[in-house]
Each structure stands twice: as structure tokens, then as C-alpha cells.
Symmetry: C2
Subunit: 339 residues, 2 copies
């Protein structure tokens, strides 16, 4: 195929020549550094339009001292949740003419954070972080604006985008109650950890709100991993019939998958022999038959909001609210049986 292989960049020089002004004038117009006459500005803007000139990142940084670049640090890129947060943040930054640098931090130690900071402190104007759990980053080191998305422990000093954890498990538990369940179990959750503890609290609140006494035998605490789910479900299924729950709330996607595996191992399915509702949507919940009722987190929105708050900070504004708590949404499917 014949085509012109290489087309040279249009530079600021070309724009200046076309507009009949000095290069410094073009720069002043494009970077908003100080005033030029409306007539000159119009000429420059027209030349930019006609030539299709786009400022490149390095050129902007040299003129304005701004790099229009933001660093995003996530534990890893293979996790669905992080992917969606990046998607939302990157879309918003792109719309605003910003560029995103990325870095994964899963295996980071103290020194790695130190290096991260040094390496990017000049290029990135601000940083957007999805903290790893446990969270070992010393955010205090970062002298630039910082926003945390989805935090595990209280981070009162920082701007954060969080999810309504308690509200989510409240809705799941309430959905089971509304369908006639009274023996409702909770699988996973650690009362001491903040995000996890909030999910436990939401379950307890819903029981209280509907006057259902708490039965400790129906609470199987544990870390948010698959194994907690499978062992928890096994234990619940082995309870004597008069105690055995008719419905189970799983605290996250992995514990939900564990519950489903344990059920399948006994030839059972969620929504048939026992009801199941879980925090976080995932492929298995979506496509199993019956599909599983879940709390969906607005993950892309969380990324967009994180980027929006960060740009507010970069523009010298101080959003009043430090914590932004996003709403959980219940997706009703077929895993909650009407009793």
C-alpha cells in the first residue's frame, strides 16, 4: 500500500509564522501565561486550528512548568477493579488534556516507594492511588496533590473516593429479609479492618432494623479470599437444620466464588437449596445459572471522580469534602429465593 510514510510535526514555529506573530506570543496564548490582545489571540487560535497543531507534553512543561501529567499507582493491572478505576480516571484526564503515567505497587517495599517518589516527583503534578492492602505507602512523603481511591483504613489527612461499604451489605441483607429469610449468615469480614468492618456493620444494622436477633453461629469471619468463602459455606451447610441459614451474604467477590464452589461440590446451587447475595459483581456471578444477586460498585465512576478531585487540587481549588462516598447499587438476579 502506498502512503506518505512520515508526516513531520507541526511545531509552534509553524503556528507563529502562519499567524504572523512571535513564537513567544503563541506560547503566551496557548499556555494562558499573560494577556495578549483579542485580535492577536484570534489570529493565533485560527493558525492553530488551520494547521491542526497539538501541543506536546514536553513542550508544555518547558514553557509553563506544568507537565499536565498525573501518576496513577495501583497494586496490579490484572485485577478487574483496578482496571475499571484506571479506565474511568484515564478517560477523564484525557478529556482534560492530561496524560497518565502508571506504576504497579503490589510487591513494593519502603524503598520502592521512596524511589517512586523521587523518580516521578518532577514529572507528575499529582498522584492518584489505589492503595494495596495492607497499605504500606507513606503518602506523607508525596509533596504533590494526592487522591486515594478505595481505602482500607481511615485516611483522614487525604482526599479519598470511597464506597459505601456498610450500605452495600445492608442492601444485600435487606434483600434476603424482604424475600422472607430470617436465618441469614455472613461469610467473611474482619470487624477490625475498616472497609471490611463496615461491611460487617452493614449486615448487623440490617438485622437490627428488621428486628432479627444476631446469631453468632451464622457469622463466619475471615479475610476476603476464596478459601474463607468455601470453608465458611461448608461450615454453614453442616449446621443442624434448625439453625442452618436459608440465606448467605458474602462480603466480596472472592468469598462469593468460594461459597459457589462449596455449593457445587455438594451438587447444590445458589438460589435453589440456599440463597446467596454478595458484595461486588464478577463474571461468575453474572453468568452462573442462577445468576447471583450482587452489589455493584461504580468502579469507572470512582476512577473519574478520583481524577476530577485531583485536577481540582491541581488547579488550586480545595474541595470542601475530603471523603467522597459513592453509592452501592443492588443488582437483583436469581440467587435469592422467595420463601
Amino acid at each position: 500500500m502506498e502512503r506518505e510514510k512520515i508526516r513531520k510535526d507541526i511545531t509552534i514555529k509553524d503556528v507563529a509564522k502562519r499567524a504572523g506573530v512571535a513564537i513567544s506570543t503563541v506560547s503566551r496564548v496557548l499556555n494562558g501565561l499573560d494577556k495578549v490582545s483579542p485580535r492577536t489571540e484570534k489570529k493565533v487560535r485560527e493558525a492553530v486550528e488551520e494547521l491542526g497543531y497539538v501541543q506536546n507534553v514536553l513542550a508544555v512543561s518547558m514553557v509553563t512548568g506544568q507537565t499536565k501529567t498525573v501518576l496513577m499507582a495501583v497494586p496490579d493491572f490484572t485485577n478487574d477493579f483496578n482496571g475499571s478505576v484506571i479506565q474511568g480516571a484515564e478517560e477523564y484526564l484525557k478529556e482534560q488534556g492530561y496524560t497518565m503515567l502508571i506504576c504497579s505497587t503490589k510487591d513494593f517495599g519502603e524503598e520502592d516507594f521512596e524511589n517512586l517518589y523521587r523518580r516521578f516527583s518532577k514529572l507528575a503534578e499529582g498522584i492518584l492511588v489505589v492503595p494495596a492492602n495492607p497499605d504500606r505507602m507513606d503518602y506523607g512523603r508525596w509533596e504533590k496533590p494526592l487522591v486515594l481511591v478505595d481505602v482500607y483504613r481511615p485516611q483522614e489527612d487525604y482526599y479519598t473516593i470511597e464506597i459505601d461499604n456498610a450500605g452495600g451489605t445492608f442492601l444485600l441483607t435487606e434483600e434476603l429479609i424482604k424475600n422472607g429469610h430470617r436465618k441469614i449468615a455472613l461469610v467473611g469480614g474482619l470487624p477490625d479492618e475498616t472497609a471490611s468492618g463496615q461491611r460487617v456493620a452493614g449486615y448487623l444494622e440490617a438485622l437490627k432494623a428488621y428486628g432479627i436477633p444476631v446469631d453468632k453461629r451464622l457469622m463466619v469471619p475471615g479475610v476476603h479470599f476464596e478459601d474463607t468463602g468455601s470453608r465458611g459455606m461448608e461450615r454453614l451447610l453442616d449446621l443442624p437444620e434448625e439453625i442452618r441459614p436459608t440465606g448467605v451474604v458474602a462480603v466480596n467477590n472472592l468469598t462469593c466464588i468460594g461459597c459457589m464452589k462449596a455449593l457445587a461440590g455438594r451438587g447444590m446451587r445458589a438460589g435453589r437449596e440456599i440463597s446467596l447475595a454478595a458484595f461486588d459483581d464478577h463474571l461468575l456471578a453474572r453468568y452462573s445459572v442462577p445468576a447471583v444477586t450482587v452489589i455493584e460498585r461504580p468502579t469507572i465512576e470512582m476512577g473519574r471522580e478520583g481524577a476530577r478531585v485531583l485536577l481540582e487540587l491541581l488547579r488550586g481549588r480545595r474541595p470542601e469534602q475530603k471523603r467522597l462516598i459513592m453509592e452501592s447499587r443492588l443488582l437483583k438476579r436469581d440467587s435469592v429465593k422467595r420463601l
Copy 2:
């Protein structure tokens, strides 16, 4: 909690002072620009070590003209495959002291690519692309080194990291044959498209290799979406018993999910009433009971290899082989029944 809130950067000035040399000497040592005496180099290296100095990206670029920054463009960040490729690439780049900029291109038109090019042509030394399908990017515009990961159509001009598509469906089909299946269907695949066509070819090759005649009624072509899978499986299940396949090969993750949904809709499961084997691993294949036999792509490796080839190009080397074809791996699970 009391801690020192802000610690100032260690700059090149501090290093020069500690080593007792000029700033330009430190710069020459760190950026390998030209020779200094071994004694001076030692002093500089020691000062760097003692102070824990890390060069920042902008400083390096100003001195060397190198930015040590690479742009990675992917259709979107919510897809598992892209996430793993980014993970592998970013890990490798980090090891090599490079930084990654990212950009999603799913909704990009011609002009957006033009802008992408202009915006990053100064900052990024090279570009790593996971092409969208259909692929609308005019790579010829990009004057910098370029590597494509996972291509859909022949890209002979470029360095590419590909997967052995034909080898993958060959292995899936062979696995069914080795388990006594002779009536084997193929769901999805378009012979005209390169990657997809290769998957169709691998199925046909395996049948040929084992002397099994092709039965066109068992081939349900289509795009690689869920709907092709569910409608394909429905059609196959409705065939008269003497033709109906005992085993099905699905061309990718989405067609596999579609097949599984169609089976579930009839109260059937893969590995019981009918056998199933599919290209690409995914959560549903992994956690269903029975779990589904799949071809696993070395996605993280594909990202690492892409980054490795790109850095070779940036260092002025020309890898001999333009196309790097990675091996597919068969993960045997429980969805192929022994007949």
C-alpha cells in the same frame, strides 16, 4: 501520629557537593555521556549511593534527550487480557528504569490517533500497542520504534508479539479426539479474519491429522461474541442425534461463555451431556463445576516480550525476527468427557 511530613528531594547538586565534583561531571557519569576517570566515577557513584539519589524522569530527558518513557496504547483497561499485557510490560520497563504512559483507544477515530501522535511524540521514545479490532490506527505515522502485541491482521512491516492461534485450536480439538470424540463441532470463527481464521485452520488441521472428515454442519462460524456461542450451541444441540456433536471447541472466551449459558438453559453442563474445550482462560471456565478445559495464553509474558523487543529497538538493535509467536498451553480440566 508524629512524623516528618515532608522530606526534600536529594538533587544532583547534593550529589556533586558530596562527591566534590561539578554538577556536569555527575551528569556525565549518570547518563554515560562520555568518559570520566574511574576515580571520579567511583566518587560520584558512592555519593549517589550514600544520598540515595534517584534521577527523575524530566532531569534525565533534559540532559540526555532521552525520556526513558514509553507509551502503551490499549483499546481499554477493563479487559482481562489487556490488563495482563500491561502488567507484564510495566514490570519489565520498571526493571529497566523506564516509565510507562498509557492511553486507551477504544473509541478513537482517525483524528484522535493524529492527536495521540502529536501529543506524545516528544515524550515517548517508543510505543507499545495492543491494537483494537478492527484496527484503525495508522502506525506509519509513528516515527518512533513501535511494537504490536496480539495482532488481528498481518502487520508485516512491524515488530509483533503474537500467539499461536492455529496451534491452540489444534490442541483443543486433539484433546477431544484423544478422549474418543469423533463428532467435534467448532463454534465461532471467521475464516477471512487472520487471527480468527488461524483458529479455524487449527481445528481443521487436527481433524485432518487424525483422519476425521470435516462435517460442515458441525461448524458454526461467527464473530467472537457471546451471542455466537449461545446460538451456536443451541443449533448444535438441536441437530438429529446421529449428527449431533459429542464435543465442542469454542474459539474464544466469549463464545465459550455463550456455549455455557445455552447448556445451563437446558439444565445441561459441559463435561456431562456434551464436552467443551475453549480458547482463552477466564473466571467462569476456571470456577464452573465441571471446570472447562482451555488454552491459556501467556498474557503477562506477551507484555514482557513486547516491552523487551521495544527496548531492543530503542537501544538501536534490530531483532532479527520481526514476528515473535508465543506458544499456547492446554489446561486440562473436567469438561472433556472420556467416551
